[in-house]
């Protein structure tokens, strides 16, 4: 990453010559001096720093559509610039800070742990800074609001996510330390991904018909529970155990058994399946005091 940044750095002051008549000023200027002037201008105006920061963000997040990513990124910069954000204390400031924090935490996928952690600390700072007053820090109210918004904007139904929110919310006037903040945000994202996976799992189970057989669903959920039930996840070997329990053969055996003993075929709705799967996950989430 450093290399890339350095490469850009080297190239940036000399703009693409193909891009037409770049030099302003009089034609009498020597080209070398004009370039130097341009580089100087870019440094002084803060363009160099801004571009470097933007490219670092792109490299961290590796978006599928970098152009769209950059458009959003710069737009957020405009919105959060001093004129826009410093405006009038809380009433206008807070929704904007919240929007910005939301944007930060979504910049990188949580599996990119370093980038994700960076962005979370940016979000934390941004929520904690309140206009001109001294830093009040992040309180429980705005933290919970952020988590609610993260869940709200996803596909997951509210009844699936609200048990998690109850578990990791803080009281409105509590100060939220960074560790808790990070834990909460990360847990939300992992749950959302879990729910999305469960959703595709249901697609497989219902075989396109829209309703899945209840027994098969229960067999799958049961296997999942058993795998997760291996309890203590601080020991690495547990992950392997859980993984093997969810391997295709184990799962297939369970599903097969369920199909064999099928008597009266009832169905399980998608919402119910998601909810039950989410409950298994949420049971593993350590509650925040």
């Amino acid at each position: 990453m450093k290399m890339a940044a350095a490469a850009c750095e080297k190239r940036r002051p000399a703009p693409n010559p193909a891009a037409g008549p770049v030099r302003t000023g009089a034609g009498a200027e020597a080209p070398g001096r004009a370039l130097e002037g341009a580089a100087e201008f870019l440094r002084q105006a803060g363009v160099t720093a801004m571009v470097r920061e933007a490219l670092l963000k792109v490299l961290e997040a590796r978006p599928e559509e970098p152009v769209a990513f950059l458009a959003d990124y710069f737009e957020k910069l405009v919105l959060s610039s001093p004129e826009a954000a410093d405006g009038g204390g809380d009433p206008r400031g807070q929704p904007q800070r919240l929007a910005r924090a939301l944007w930060y935490v979504r910049l990188a996928h949580h599996s990119h742990r370093t980038a994700f952690n960076n962005n979370i600390s940016m979000a934390y700072e941004c929520l904690g800074a309140s206009g001109r007053r001294k830093k009040p820090g992040v309180n429980g109210r705005i933290y919970s609001e952020l988590l609610r918004r993260i869940c709200q904007d996803s596909e997951a139904p509210q009844e699936v996510t609200s048990p998690l929110l109850q578990r990791i919310q803080c009281r409105d006037h509590e100060a939220v330390p960074f560790d808790v903040f990070r834990y909460g945000v990360l847990t939300c994202f992992v749950l959302l991904e879990f729910v999305a996976k469960a959703d595709t799992l249901y697609d497989v189970l219902d075989d396109g018909s829209g309703v899945a057989d209840k027994r098969v669903c229960q067999a799958v959920l049961g296997t999942l529970e058993e795998a997760l039930g291996a309890s203590d996840f601080s020991v690495p070997i547990r992950y392997l155990e859980a993984g093997s329990k969810l391997g295709p053969d184990c799962l297939a055996v369970a599903m097969d058994r369920a199909l064999l003993e099928r008597k009266l075929s009832t169905s399980m709705k998608r919402e119910e399946f998601l909810k039950k799967a989410a409950v298994l996950f949420i049971a593993k989430v350590k509650p925040v005091d």
């Binding site: 850009c8 490219l55 910069l77």
Partner: protein, 328 residues
């Protein structure tokens, strides 16, 4: 398709693959060009607008050719813009020559090279009678192949020529533009429509090219499909088949399917409104309005088609296939 791969690439390669630096550099040089206005406007806002216009594909308007062809996204943006601006030419059923189309292309990109337009015209006209009239859609789809897959076609021309000469080009040499051009000329002047090369052999040679080329190539399955439907084919026969292939059109992603090429109801409404405003005299649109070109006063490009009058008698035999699909 590249979704997971991008995380494993080294940073510089990721940036190059997505042309991030091309746009960033261009943005900065644009900013330098307008540095007087920037101070009051704000740098971040400038970048926002720049990248938004790249996202929407309006960034190539009136830009120099070297930029317009710099990335696949720029090429599709240019193709789409060309289509949207001059769709009415096709709708009115006007037939134009390569020169006329070139003028239209230059309205959007002042230094657009004539060479590319001519090559596209060669595809439509199968390298024959270069001053002939062409329908909008014939030209557009041929132009799309020529412009979007430019580098690929250069290499194809070289391979084709080698095959004609009896050489089996096991090693693919990517020719420079001048040699490619030279070869394709040669190829065209020598082969009569009856000969050409054997399709299966041709495909074998193209396969390595498709695998290795760092430029945009048509999907190899579709190339295979095109080549497996015939025994032998000529260079221009091959290009024509590519140009007419729906799957390849979709792979490029710039233009709608041929049937929908002339349909764009929102744009029609916009245009009608504009025309009504401009002319001031209310045209009798409301009742029998939107889809019919006949109702609309001629309002295509500022350049009136030169051959309007000849249109009627030449229409049937000139265009290589259908000329207008306005009824579907």
């Amino acid at each position: 398709m590249l979704s997971a791969e991008r995380f494993s690439l080294p940073g510089p390669e990721y940036l190059a693959q997505r042309h991030v630096l091309t746009y960033m550099e261009d943005a900065v040089s644009q900013l330098l060009e307008n540095r007087e206005d920037i101070s009051q406007y704000g740098i971040a806002r400038f970048f926002t607008e720049y990248f938004n216009s790249v996202r929407q594909g309006t960034h190539i308007l009136f830009r120099e050719f070297s930029f317009v062809q710099a990335t696949p996204h720029n090429r599709t943006s240019y193709l789409r813009t060309f289509w949207r601006c001059f769709r009415t030419v096709g709708k009115n059923g006007d037939l134009l020559t390569a020169k006329d189309y070139h003028c239209l292309l230059q309205l959007l990109c002042p230094d657009f090279p004539m060479e590319l337009t001519q090559k596209a015209a060669r595809i439509v006209l199968m390298d024959d009678a270069m001053d002939c009239l062409m329908s909008f859609s014939d030209f557009l789809f041929a132009f799309q192949i020529q412009f979007y897959y430019s580098e690929f076609l250069e290499s194809v021309a070289a391979i084709y020529q080698d095959l004609l000469d009896g050489k089996n080009p096991n090693t693919v040499i990517v020719p420079t533009s001048s040699s490619g051009q030279h070869r394709s000329r040669q190829a065209s002047s020598e082969c009569s429509p009856l000969d050409g090369v054997e399709a299966s052999l041709f495909y074998q040679c193209l396969e390595t090219l498709l695998d290795r080329s760092k430029y945009s190539c048509p999907p190899s399955a579709l190339v295979k499909e095109v080549l497996s439907s015939v025994q032998r084919l000529t260079f221009y026969g091959f290009l024509m088949a590519l140009a007419k292939h729906h799957g390849i059109n979709r792979a490029v992603g710039a233009l709608p399917d041929k049937g929908d090429l002339l349909l764009d109801p929102p744009m029609d409404q916009e245009l009608e409104k504009l025309v009504a405003q401009v002319s001031g005299l209310s045209i009798s649109t409301p009742a029998s309005s939107s889809g019919e070109p006949a109702n609309l006063p001629s309002r295509n490009s500022p350049r009136k088609p030169l051959h309007h009058r000849r249109k009627v008698d030449t229409e049937s035999d000139i265009s290589t296939e259908e000329t207008d699909s306005s009824e579907n």
